[in-house]
């Protein structure tokens, strides 16, 4: 345990580390709630498409800032705009059902990356940040970002409390929900938008490449034991809390990339839990 003492000492001394810890703590509820939605609804491809399209938004916004001196949109705003746009496209494609949604998602995924890389390569002195977008850098997170995470958590908890019945019905049985008068399209779009915003904020912690794992691994582990949807959300949030704060402490103490450490921590617990459950069965 003595390896973690420098981390605890530095936590007192360095504000950037405290910001990182706050981000880890505040990301957990959002990752647990939205991760459960993504896992149960089986929309991992959609989450992947949103995550990769974020790069286009980040890159375009930064390009405009550097090339033309625009103050706005900031990279975070650009990322949010791209994610929301993808959520709207996915919602429309799902509703109309004419195109094969997996094909559309794969196209969005690749186009998002391609556009992002083009903008980043065209931005003077900016390409070094590509790695931090792809793999995240929690130590660079700003207090304003932690505030946004806090606001997202509050919004999610409120939405789940108020609309839990409808959300449950829409995920479990859309046809029955429609018959009972639930506005299925609106509820689904609301959840897709919240998923997109969660991904935008989570990208800063674990990066574009690993954000899907952050959403799915805690929820998948929680799903092995949960008998109710809200319990799965709660359990996944607690697991996310352990992974993100534990991963931060381990990575800082061992001088390893934080995003990758969080994900490997989560994956190890998931695999061990699954194996133990199978052995027991």
């Amino acid at each position: 345990m003595t390896e973690f003492l420098p981390f605890l000492n530095d936590l007192v001394s360095y504000p950037f580390l405290r910001n990182a810890l706050w981000a880890s703590l505040l990301l957990a509820p959002a990752a647990g709630i939205i991760g459960t939605f993504v896992t149960v609804e089986r929309i991992n491809s959609m989450a992947g498409a949103v995550a990769h399209s974020v790069l286009a938004g980040l890159g375009a916004a930064r390009y405009l800032q550097v090339k033309f001196g625009w103050e706005y949109p900031t990279p975070l705003q650009g990322a949010a705009a791209a994610a929301v746009l993808v959520a709207l496209i996915v919602s429309a494609v799902t509703r109309r059902g004419r195109e094969r949604s997996e094909t559309v998602l794969a196209a969005i995924w690749a186009i998002g990356m391609a556009v992002g890389i083009l903008f980043i390569s065209a931005t003077p002195g900016y390409s070094e940040d590509l790695m931090s977008y792809l793999f995240g850098n929690i130590l660079m997170i700003k207090p304003s970002d932690t505030l946004l995470l806090g606001f997202l958590d509050l919004s999610l908890v409120l939405v789940i409390f108020l609309f839990y019945k409808d959300i449950f019905a829409v995920i479990f049985d859309k046809e029955f929900a429609t018959i009972r008068g639930i506005k299925v399209d609106r509820i689904y779009l609301m959840m897709l938008l919240l998923t997109s915003l969660t991904i935008v904020l989570a990208v800063q912690v674990v990066g574009i490449v690993m954000v899907i794992a952050l959403l799915t691994l805690p929820a998948a582990t929680a799903g092995l034991f949960s008998t109710r949807l809200w319990k799965m959300m709660l359990f996944a949030s607690l697991l996310s809390l352990v992974y993100s704060t534990g991963g931060l402490a381990i990575s800082y103490s061992m001088d390893k990339p934080t995003g990758a450490t969080i994900i490997l921590f989560a994956a190890a617990v998931y695999l061990l839990t699954m194996l133990m459950k199978r052995k027991k069965a």
């Binding site: 409808d166 049985d173 046809e175 009972r180 799903g223």
Partner: protein, 269 residues
């Protein structure tokens, strides 16, 4: 009021109430493919009507039309005397349990409580937040009615196929359904569970109308008041007994839909 509409109203009120379901010259196509062609039938209060027919013959389309999930290209579909979208809260829809995600984290109570959605007033404010105590009581009563009381906290997907099917019936009952629509409720259950479900239907029909889609022609002919054989078109048949041989012949013959309706007597279309 015109003579025609007055006559229509009179026809609707054979027993003083609006008919649960009435199809009048209904046609429906998916793109170029015609699924239903000019079909007419009516389900009366307390009827247990069975719909049988080959796959792709239009059975599920009829259910979707009744539920207002799709609209007829031609003709008129009435549910309790009005458009399906207006009256569908009075219908309890029971799909096949096997359609649900086997990993979904839902308790029996969660599933049955869905039947209470939309029944506490239409305004957004009334719909928000958790279920009420009265909803929980309805849920318990519905589970008792299908013989599953005490299982509220169990994981839905951990139950047997027959139990899951009965939970879905309880979900429909929890919504005070006056008409139950059942889509092949015994298609993935063992013989014992099948028998239990048919016994349950026998007791449920005392207080509600039931429309049952099934492939089990032998059982259907023994418990139903009316049998609709659907294969795109409808013909009314004069047989009072529905036998396997007759249906075998029917499925491969020119006759596409048979209505065996002991209440209505014999008609040829």
């Amino acid at each position: 009021m015109s003579t025609k509409s007055a006559l229509k109203k009179e026809q609707r009120s054979l027993s003083g109430e609006k008919l649960p379901v009435r199809f009048q010259h209904v046609s429906f196509s998916y793109g170029e493919e015609e699924i239903l062609k000019d079909i007419s039938f009516a389900i009366k209060q307390g009827d247990l009507a069975a719909i049988i027919g080959p796959n792709g013959g239009g059975k599920t389309t009829i259910l979707k039309l009744i539920l207002g999930l799709i609209e007829a290209d031609r003709g008129e579909v009435e549910l309790f005397g009005s458009a399906p979208k207006i009256s569908r809260a009075r219908v309890g829809y029971v799909p096949q349990y096997s359609l649900f995600d086997p990993l979904f984290p839902a308790s029996v109570r969660d599933v049955v409580m869905m039947g209470r959605l939309g029944l506490n007033g239409g305004s957004l404010f009334k719909r928000l937040g958790p279920y009420r105590k009265s909803d929980l009581e309805k849920c318990s009563r519905a589970l008792a009615e299908v013989g599953l009381d005490g299982l509220e906290g169990r994981l839905f997907t951990a139950l047997s196929g027959g139990q899951r099917q009965r939970v879905l019936i309880a979900r429909a009952l929890a919504g005070d359904a006056e008409l139950l629509l059942m889509d092949e409720p015994t298609s993935n259950v063992d013989r014992r569970a099948e028998k239990e479900i048919y016994q349950l239907l026998g007791s449920l029909k005392k207080e509600r109308s039931i429309i049952l889609v099934s492939h089990d022609t032998a059982v259907v002919s023994s418990i139903s008041d009316m049998v609709l054989c659907v294969n795109r078109t409808l013909m009314q048949h004069d047989s009072c007994e529905l036998t396997g041989d007759m249906l075998q012949k029917l499925y491969g013959s020119e006759m596409h839909l048979v209505l065996h309706d002991p209440h209505a007597g014999v008609h040829d279309d």
